[in-house]
Structure formats: C-alpha cells, structure tokens
C-alpha cells in the first residue's frame, strides 16, 4: 500500500523516544488549581460562581456565551479562594483566572447517555450534540475549537467522513500515541458517536507510520465503518488540511472549512473525551499531556487536572536539568514559550516541552537569498519568501492577496530557512492586523 501523505513538508528530528514508552500516569491532585476562564477559541464563557463558593469536581462554573463557546467545569472539589486577572499565555492579554483550593474529590457529573447507540436521528442531533457542548469539549490537539460547533452545519449538510487525527506530527510529543495505545476502544467509541451525530458513513483514524503500536491497537476495534489508516511520518501531517488530503485526496478550499468538502476532523484525545462525556457523563476537566524534552529529568506522559500549575508537573517529572532554557506549551514547532511556571495547564495543553539552554539560540535574521527551500517545505503551496518580503515592506493588502491568511503557522518555512528568517512571526503579525482591521469594520 502506498503510504498516504501530502505535498511538501519537512522531517525534523522526532525525539519521541524520550517519552514514547512511558504509560500515562495520573498525578496527585494539586493543592490549588488555577483555572483560566478563557480556554476555548471563540467567546469565553461567563463565570457563574463567586469567591467563597464551594464547588464539586465536574460542576459547571461558567456558562457558554453564544454558539462558538463552551461551559467550563471545576477540575477539583473545593472552595473558590480568588478570582483575578492574569496574563494569558495564548491570547497575550490579562484574562480572568479562578483559584480553587482543593479537597477530596466529590463528583458532580452529567447524566450518562449509555443507550446512545439506540438513538434515532433526532435524538442524536439533540442529546448527543448538546452533550458535547455541555461537557465543555474543545479540540484537544491544541486548537481548542469548540467541538460541537463543527456539527451545527454538519447536521444540515451531508458529511462523508469523520477523521480522527492521530498523526501527532509535532516532534517530542507522545500523548496521542499513548492514548491510542491505552484507550483504543474509547477512541473508536468516540468516533462511533461522532458518526452517529452527523450521519457520515465512514470514519478514518489517521496515524503516522512511526506509531505502529497505536495503529495495531486501533485495528483491533476497526470495523467496516471505522478504518485506522497509516499516513507518512512527515511534518505537518497532523494539520487538518494535510490529514484530510492524505486520507481522502480532497482539498479544503481557500478560506473554507473541512465541512465544505464533507469532512470533519477531531483529535484522538477529543474523541476519547467525547466518549467519556456520553458514556459516563464526565465533563472535560482533565487530560493527558507529555512532559518531555532534553531539559527535563524524567520525561513521561501524565494525566492531569486542567488548572494544574506547570511547575508541579515539572517537579513531578523530576525537575529541570539545568537553569534557564525554554519551557514550551505544546511541541517545538508550534508551541508557545512561557516565562512564568506558575501558569496552569489548559484544555489545549498537549505537552510541556523543556529545552536546555544550549538548544536555545538567539535568532539573527539575515537577508533572504531566495534559495526556495521554504517553497518546497510549505504544504499549502504558499510563497513564504515573497510573503515575508511583503509583510516586512508593510504591503499587507498584497500579502493578503497572496494568501498569508491561508497560512497554518506550522513553521516549516522557518524551520528550513538558512537565513533564519522568522516567517511565522511576520505572518502572525499580518494575520493579527487583518483580524483587528476587518473585525472592526464589521
């Protein structure tokens, strides 16, 4: 079988061996959790509790605001000791943060929907759809896009495929790999639920071919509707558009979404969370993540409550090897570096990567020599070299015309650049400006 893939891309060192073989370990509940209210793309929910309130694990503490929003649930049982504003590492703005001092767990779950298999179309449209929203489920691969929203259109339009993304193309990270190895039945079950909601006939689980163990585990649960498929190990294979192209040879139109070509994509961890939300009524308040990197003493895969301070995870993983370096939320290609280790784990935190000071070098951009490597690396067939020139010259309108908004910020161009040009930084600036300007006009 020809190995499925996309055009372009890069092969960074994988470094997955650091944490690959380590089973997911549940860590003790922290004394206090720090819960950002804004944990999803779209509108943040509105807090429905106040300082001094007692909450239970799984209790809803913030209400969704509008369609692109999900509620938030308490990850621990305890008392809300403070509500303050703290700099958010992703939005780069001060955001509301709840501090909850934890006690022994008392659970407050939703009603399990264990007979979902027998649901008719209407029931799955209402009950299952509502459940995904009410359980606060967002894309756990890092995008944190509210999962239910993908079905708002999908319930009206025909959907051909639901794809679970188990590529985990970011180097170092291994949590999706472990999830697939340890919980294949639940992941396949989650996919069954998703197929039920949108009425699609076929579900794929795309797994990079460097994870044969995960592929074999999923294969045991495969049936005529659900097919695990090996895709080529290449970055960014786990990009939504790249994964869809690899498995179905369909291209998401420029400016469009997967639903426009009859496809819906979720991360495998999201499917797991959806399964638990439906079968057990469990809201999304904990997740698995990888703590890894050359700078950490004992890399591993941990099961943690949302809101756990990153310092506690690092301590649990044996602490830092050396002073300084870089601590990154996510993987080395797209992750967000943080300065403050008291920041908490969020719904979208798929990994904590610690690089040693020797691996962190100051980047000095030099002139572009037009070598064309970024053109070869770009999986969306943009011209990173040209776009950077346009953005640097502040010719934003032209940059938009030549597709800078289509960029997925995967960083392949910057990775290969011999002149060390910070393509992604410049593109993010152009995109941010576009969002501000055009958003203001509407």
């Amino acid at each position: 079988m020809a190995i499925l893939s996309f055009i372009g891309g890069i092969h960074p060192p994988e470094r997955k061996e650091l944490a690959k073989g380590r089973p997911i370990q549940e860590i003790p509940i922290p004394k206090s959790v720090y819960l950002f209210v804004n944990q999803n793309t779209g509108k943040p929910p509105a807090v429905s509790v106040k300082k001094g309130d007692s909450v239970k694990t799984g209790q809803k503490i913030a209400e969704a605001q509008g369609p692109v929003s999900v509620p938030l649930h308490s990850p621990v049982t305890g008392v809300i000791s403070d509500i303050k504003k703290v700099m958010h590492p992703i939005t780069q703005k001060p955001e509301e943060l709840l501090v909850i001092d934890s006690e022994t767990d008392q659970f407050d779950f939703l009603e399990p929907l264990s007979d979902w298999k027998a649901y008719d179309k209407e029931k799955s449209h209402t009950l299952l759809y509502e459940r995904i929203k009410e359980a606060g489920i967002v894309g756990l691969g890092g995008a944190t896009f509210p999962s239910h929203f993908k079905y708002l259109e999908a319930m009206k339009k025909p959907v051909d495929y639901v794809i679970l993304n188990g590529a985990e193309c970011e180097p170092y990270l291994t949590i999706d790999d472990r999830m697939m190895v340890e919980h294949p039945a639940q992941i396949v079950g989650g996919l069954e639920i998703l197929l039920k909601i949108c009425g699609a006939s076929k579900g794929y689980i795309g797994v990079e071919d460097n994870k044969p163990e995960a592929f074999e585990a999923l294969k045991k649960y495969a049936n005529d509707r659900i097919e695990p498929a090996l895709v080529k190990t290449k970055y960014p294979q786990g990009g939504e558009k790249q994964m869809i192209y690899a498995l179905t040879k369909r291209s998401v139109p420029v400016g469009g979404f997967p639903i426009h070509i009859g496809v819906i994509v979720h991360n495998v961890a999201t499917a797991f969370a959806i399964y638990e939300a439906v079968e057990k009524g469990k809201p999304l308040y904990e997740r698995g993540l990888t703590v890894t990197g050359e700078g950490i003493a004992k890399p591993g895969n941990l099961w943690v409550r949302v809101g756990t301070p990153i310092q506690e995870l690092i301590t649990y993983a044996g602490g830092l090897h050396s002073e300084g370096g870089k601590v990154i939320l996510g993987g080395p290609m797209m992750g967000v570096p943080i300065k403050d280790l008291t920041l908490p784990v969020m719904k979208g935190t798929s990994g904590i990567l610690v690089l040693t000071p020797e691996m962190v070098s100051e980047i000095n951009e030099t002139a572009c020599i037009n070598c064309g490597r970024c053109l070869m690396a770009c999986s969306l067939r943009l011209e990173p070299n040209y776009l950077v020139k346009l953005v640097k010259a502040k010719k934003f309108e032209e940059a938009y015309k030549y597709g800078v908004l289509n960029c997925c910020e995967c960083g392949s161009c910057a990775y290969v650049c011999p002149s060390k040009i910070e393509h992604v930084k410049h593109f993010k600036l152009a995109k941010k400006l576009h969002a501000t300007l055009k958003g203001g006009k509407k």
Binding site: P12, P13, D160, P171, K241, Y245, R250, S251, V252, P253, V254, G256, H260, I261, Q311, E323, G325, K326, I328, P332, M333, M334, G335, V336, P337, I338, L341, L353, L355, M359, V360, E362, I363, T366, A367, I369, N370, C371, G372, L375, S379, L380, R381, L382, E383, Y386, G403, N406, G411, A414, Y415, V416, C417, P418, S419, K420, E422, V424, K425, K428
Partner: protein, 328 residues
C-alpha cells in the same frame, strides 16, 4: 525561580544550515575546476582565483564596515563566491589588478548599490565579467597557452571562435569533443573543463544546495536549439555537443544561472528561466557578432526574474477546490 526562560517565538527547533555553510559548499564545488585550471594553465590560474576571492571579501568588508557602517557585519562567503567565479571567467594570463577592478565593479556596483546579498537583481560576477569584456576587450580575449604535457593543442583560439570564424568542420578538426569535455582546450581558466565543473555540481546536488531544474532546462534548450540548426546547416552552426562543451555554457548553466538570488525559486519559474537562458545563448552564438553569449543571456534573464516570478506564482493549496466541491 530566578532563572530566565527564553521566549523567542516558534518554531523552537531549526535546521543547522546557514547561508555561510551554503556559500562554503559552493566554494568547495568550484575547487575541481580550479585544480584543473592549475594543471592546464599553471600557478597563475591559482593566484588569480585566490586574488579574486580574497579581494572580493576585503572589498565587501570595507563597504559594509566603512561605507554602510554595519558594525556587526560578519562575512558570509558570498563575496568570495562572486570573486572566485569572476576569476574563473578570465584568461589565465589576465592581469591581477584588472581582475581586482572587475571585482570592485562586481561587489561594489552590482551587489552593494542594491543593498547587498539577497537584493542584487543581476549576478554580480557576470556584471564584473561583462564590465571587463567591454572595458578591456583585448586583455579579455588573449588566451593563455596550455602548459601541460598532454596538450597537443595547436590553436590559440577558443572552440566557439573557431566555429564562428572558420566553420564547424575546421573547429572539429582542431579540437576533439573529448578534449573539450576534459578541458584540453582554450578558454577562460575556469570554464574549459566540463568534467571538473560537473564533478563540482554533483557535489552541490548531493548536498542539496542547488535546484537542478535551471541547468536541465538551460542545457536542454541549448541542445535542442543547436540540433535544429545543425540539421539545417552543420558547417555554419555546429553540433549540439560542440555547443554544450565548447564555451562557457557549463560554468554558466551549472554555477552562474543557478545563483539563487538572481534566479526564480519556483519550479515553474526555474524552468522558464532556464529555457530563456538557453534560447538567448544560442541566438547570440549563432546569429550575434560575439562567439559566446552565456554571460549576456543569464544577465538578460536576471532582468526578467521579477516578471517570471509574477507569472509562475504557485496556486495555493485548495485553490482548485471549487471543482472538488461540485464533484463531491
């Protein structure tokens, strides 16, 4: 914790490759041709190469530090490549101070008046060469005698000028194709040996430093073009292989036209650019006043680069998607 964590933006890992490393590999790739030039023409060839490369670096350093006042300037080796290529494009008997004048024009005018590396529209080495050809036509067309023992060459003219003046039969009688391939012929010190240049180019390909589309399109066009005219009048126009090996095509197609800064980076653009170089080269060789047209053809195509870029922009991923939507 008192330690300072870095927050430089993603991606957090990068290739270790840098521009100086690329330039170093290009210099290494030119070494076989330089060694052959020393073998064919004597030590003067080496001195010219060393003077060309060193003076280029010195001139660039002076311009960057004292005229453009860049205090943090670090040489990246690109000037040495320009200087060496220019030295390889003169006769082995050329005078070293005229070469330095050529380097001054190449680095000072063709490169730094436009803003230095990455910004020059024309290949600096070729501008330097054309400047020397026009300013010192006599010195630029006196060829050094071959000094190695194996040489049985009697002529003191380049294969292409024999072709131009006396026709293909006479040229083929004086120089065999094998001689031209190995380099046992007259010409600029770096261009004579196709073999040495190809060895260097294979090294660049192996190191993934170069896009082979341009040389393939360029040489392919030359072969096709000359074949057509060879069919019409063999004696006047000469054979395709003669055109391939006889002049500066090899060094031009492999090392000058492939200069990244002045050539298109897209596959389609590189293809158009290579074909354009080939057509103009052959038009000058077959119908122009000069026997050789590689330098001019590449410079003309350099000038066309922005236009080629414009017509060869890649279609973004998902561009054709509306059709997919209809089918689905």
């Amino acid at each position: 914790m008192a330690t300072l964590l870095s927050t430089s933006p993603a991606p957090h890992i990068r290739v270790k490759d840098t521009v100086p490393k690329i330039m170093r590999d290009v210099l290494i790739a030119l070494i076989p041709a330089v060694i052959f030039a020393v073998y064919a023409f004597g030590w003067n060839a080496l001195w010219l190469c060393v003077i060309g490369a060193l003076s280029a670096e010195l001139i660039e350093y002076g311009i960057m530090r004292f005229l453009r006042k860049k205090k943090d300037f670090r040489p990246d080796g690109s000037a040495a490549v320009t200087g060496l290529l220019l030295a390889m494009n003169v006769s082995a008997s050329f005078s070293w101070y005229l070469l330095i004048i050529g380097v001054l024009v190449a680095i000072g005018i063709a490169k730094h008046t436009y803003g230095g590396i990455g910004n020059n529209p024309f290949n600096p080495a070729l501008i330097g060469r054309v400047f020397l050809v026009i300013s010192f036509p006599v010195q630029m067309s006196v060829w050094a005698p071959l000094n190695h023992a194996a040489s049985t060459l009697v002529t003191s003219a380049t294969p292409l000028s024999i072709l131009k003046q006396k026709g293909f039969e006479e040229a083929a009688r004086q120089v065999s194709l094998l001689d031209m391939f190995i380099g046992n012929t007259q010409g600029c010190l770096g261009e004579v040996s196709a073999l040495a240049l190809i060895i260097g180019f294979i090294f660049l390909l192996w190191r993934k430093r170069v896009n082979p589309i341009i040389p393939i399109a360029y040489i392919g066009t030359v072969l096709l073009f000359s074949f057509l005219f060879f069919m019409i009048n063999p004696n006047q126009f000469g054979s395709p292989i003669f055109h391939l090996l006889g002049g500066g095509l090899m060094i031009g197609a492999l090392f000058m036209a492939t200069d990244m800064v002045t050539s298109p980076a897209t596959m389609k653009g590189a293809f158009i650019y290579g074909i354009g170089c080939g057509i103009i080269t052959m038009l000058i060789r077959l119908f122009g006043a000069l026997p050789e047209g590689v330098s001019f053809s590449i410079l003309i195509m350099n000038a066309c680069k922005p236009l080629i870029d414009k017509i060869s922009r890649p279609k973004p991923f998902g561009y054709v998607a509306p059709e997919v939507k209809k089918n689905g």
